[in-house]
């Protein structure tokens, strides 16, 4: 039983980027609890100023290697909105398809490579190569399938080339579409095996009610497009995000923090699941049920399970999208839409693997960026992570220091924080209106 506790984990491993965790407990009371981001800031909003309308998607893709498709799409959507460009339905379907597979590769990376070692009591995925080769092989196969789909549609797995404003510089061939469908169909046995493995994991018990925010659509389980929706019952058009959100700079972090109406909130797979459960495929719903995940779920640790359920959904929905694209017939004439540069402001909102991602650009009449604002999911989760820790730590003080440290690390890891992205991350604040 620990009355006093000093935990400092620096740097926290198996997260993308550099973050530190500091907890001081004295006489069973938390004196200090901090998840600090000392990662170097990068100044993307400054880099973008003055750049031509066709460059921001290439520049902002480099915010994050793991979610470069998400940044590319948010950027493209913001610019298309600002310049009044309407991409074809074919373009949107292909974007949704590539989008699914960045989400799959990212979720696989997190569930199997970064989070799973904690459940198997090891420090990384490397020892699992010997002890649980099947887990590693399933992960590598599923990740490769997803990356190959991103490669086929985007031209490469990290920082896609073909996804540009107006459409695609090059379309996949019909043969490639059929090949992708075969790859997807071949992945189901691995999903079944994953289900058996995940069922054996002991997910820590924890519950803390918070607000969950994601995008939401009337038809899709929204990743690429939708309104911004909260489990607190409000829904707004994505162009009006500033009605609800505010960012501010905090001293110990290069990442700005984000608030909604003074409340902290959570974004990411669990938030999407809680808001959009009904839009999942029946198959994905079945997996959720098998793994004990029900909406609304207030256990942050279950974010890992929500990520897996999303993998199933993305694979199901990709097959539907491929059938639709093939049925409509791939049309070179619809690959690109005409672009006329001009002045305007546009907001692009998507669900990055780690949650709500907002790009907001203002262009001058020469089609050059005058002002850019980027709000990143980990920045939104930051305050919620600290609240979760405050709720969790007092309940586990009877455990050993090592166990407390591990449980806290697992909690942060459950968010799949992406610190490279968030080094612009301000605390984002929701406003009560």
């Amino acid at each position: 039983m620990a009355n006093n506790l000093n935990i400092e984990v620096s740097p926290l491993s198996r997260v993308e980027g550099h973050g530190d965790l500091i907890i001081n407990v004295k006489d069973k009371k938390i004196e200090k609890l901090m998840f600090r981001i000392p990662e170097s800031p990068r100044f993307f909003e400054a880099m973008l100023v003055g750049r031509k309308y066709d460059e921001p998607s290439h520049i902002t893709s480099r915010i994050c290697g793991i979610c470069s498709v998400a940044h590319t799409c948010a950027s493209i959507k913001a610019t298309e909105k600002a310049l009044g460009i309407k991409p074809s339905e074919q373009t949107i379907n292909l974007r949704k398809l590539i989008y699914h597979h960045e989400n799959v590769q990212s979720n696989v990376l997190h569930v199997y490579f970064l989070a799973a070692p904690d459940f198997f009591g090891v420090g990384s995925v490397i020892p699992l190569v010997e002890t649980y080769p099947e887990v590693v092989n399933i992960a590598l196969r599923t990740k490769k399938m997803a990356n190959d789909i991103v490669r086929i549609i985007g031209g490469r797995a990290v920082h896609p080339i073909r996804t540009v404003i107006g459409g695609f510089t090059k379309l996949p061939t019909e043969e490639e579409m059929i090949k992708m469908k075969e790859m997807l169909l071949a992945s189901y046995p691995d999903l079944e095996k994953s289900l058996e493995i995940l069922r054996t994991l002991k997910i820590p018990e924890f519950e803390r009610k918070t607000e969950y925010i994601s995008i939401s659509d009337t038809i899709d389980y929204a990743l690429y497009d939708g309104n911004i929706k909260s489990t607190d019952g409000w829904e707004i058009d994505d162009q009006n995000y500033l009605d609800k959100m505010k960012e501010k700079v905090v001293k110990y972090s290069t990442a700005k923090h984000c608030w909604v109406k003074g409340n902290v909130f959570m974004v990411g797979a669990l938030a999407r699941f809680n808001n959009n459960y009904q839009k999942l495929t029946d198959n994905a719903k079945k997996y959720a049920e098998e793994l004990g995940l029900k909406a609304p779920c207030h256990n942050t640790f279950m974010n890992n399970i929500a990520q897996f359920v999303e993998i199933v959904h993305s694979i199901d929905d990709s097959i539907r999208l491929i059938d639709k694209i093939l049925e409509d017939g791939l049309d070179e004439g619809k690959a690109m839409t005409d672009i006329k540069p001009g002045a305007g402001r546009g907001v692009g909102v998507v669900e990055a693997p780690r949650g709500l991602l907002i790009h907001d650009y203002t262009y001058n009449d020469k089609g050059r960026v005058e002002k850019a604002n980027l709000i990143i999911p980990t920045g939104m989760n930051y305050a919620n992570i600290e609240k979760d820790m405050h709720a969790l730590v007092p309940t586990i003080l009877d455990k050993s220091e090592d166990e407390i440290r591990l449980t806290c690390e697992m909690l942060i890891r459950a968010y799949d924080p992406c610190i490279s992205c968030s080094t612009h991350f301000l605390k984002v604040k929701l406003i009560n209106r």
Binding site: R14, M47, C64, S124, V158, R162, T169
Partner: protein, 251 residues
């Protein structure tokens, strides 16, 4: 043969180069078997400060970063810079172009003095770099080739010919014919001309070859009614730090 101890380190960047190592998929387990990874914060909790080879991603942009890279320089026998940010400073250098103080003020406002940020530099400003795996992202197979070469004691072969060579080999239509500008004639190959393959112009993310035929690039631009200035903005995306203009490169 004992396995070389390898550290994989990230500085300021997007993590994409380290991700490309994980994206090796088919070769990843062989790579993990051939080396002993002793430091890789993104993937592994345990770490040690004894290693022979350091693979370094990212640019140096903070005082803390300068200390860290110097420490790595003191430990590693061989340093490999992976990716544009480590090799040339990459896209991060757009901050220098904008102006450091101005950038701090724009993003962090009156809180700008809280932020540790210095002018962006590639890692060879502070340590001796033995090999460069260029590009944004780098070619993951080239990273494997460099590591393999280091294990067997052979010098890795890094192309020093322009992207046009690969592009022609791939049978692409020259993108200039389609009205797209391209840095291919003077940019270093090794990417398998991946941007022109996707009907996009090369952005020189692997930098310029050692002795570029600048006149050929100028002639090509002239043929399509363009000037060097027209393409410099694109060239600056990944090459603003090394600061040489195309004119200087020719000298």
């Amino acid at each position: 043969m004992s396995k070389p101890k390898v550290g994989i380190f990230g500085f300021t960047g997007c993590g994409g180069c380290q991700l490309e190592i994980l994206n090796l998929e088919d070769q990843l387990l062989d790579l993990v078997n051939a080396i002993e990874i002793v430091h890789f914060t993104e993937l592994v909790t345990e770490y040690s400060d004894t290693y022979e080879i350091a693979l370094v991603e990212g640019s140096i942009t903070t005082k803390h970063g300068v200390e860290r890279i110097k420490k790595i320089g003191n430990i590693a026998k061989t340093i490999v810079a992976i990716g544009a940010c480590a090799v040339t400073g990459g896209l991060n250098c757009l901050k220098n172009l904008y102006g450091l103080e101005k950038a701090k003020e724009l993003v962090y406002g009156d809180k700008k003095d809280w932020i540790d940020s210095i002018e962006v530099k590639p890692i060879d400003t502070y340590v001796k770099v033995d090999y460069y795996s260029r590009g944004c992202p780098p070619n993951r197979f080239e990273i494997v080739d460099i590591v393999r070469s280091l294990i067997v004691g052979r010098k890795p072969e890094i192309p020093n010919y322009p992207v046009c060579v690969e592009c022609k080999r791939n049978g692409n239509t020259c993108v200039y014919e389609l009205g797209i500008t391209c840095m291919g004639p003077i940019s270093r190959a090794g990417c398998n001309s991946r941007c022109p393959n996707s009907v996009s112009g090369c952005e020189a993310c692997r930098g310029v070859i050692d002795e570029p035929n600048v006149n050929a690039q100028k002639d090509l631009l002239a043929e399509y009614g363009l000037t060097v200035e027209d393409i410099m903005e694109g060239f600056n995306l990944y090459n603003a730090c090394k600061g040489k203009t195309i004119e200087q490169k020719g000298k």
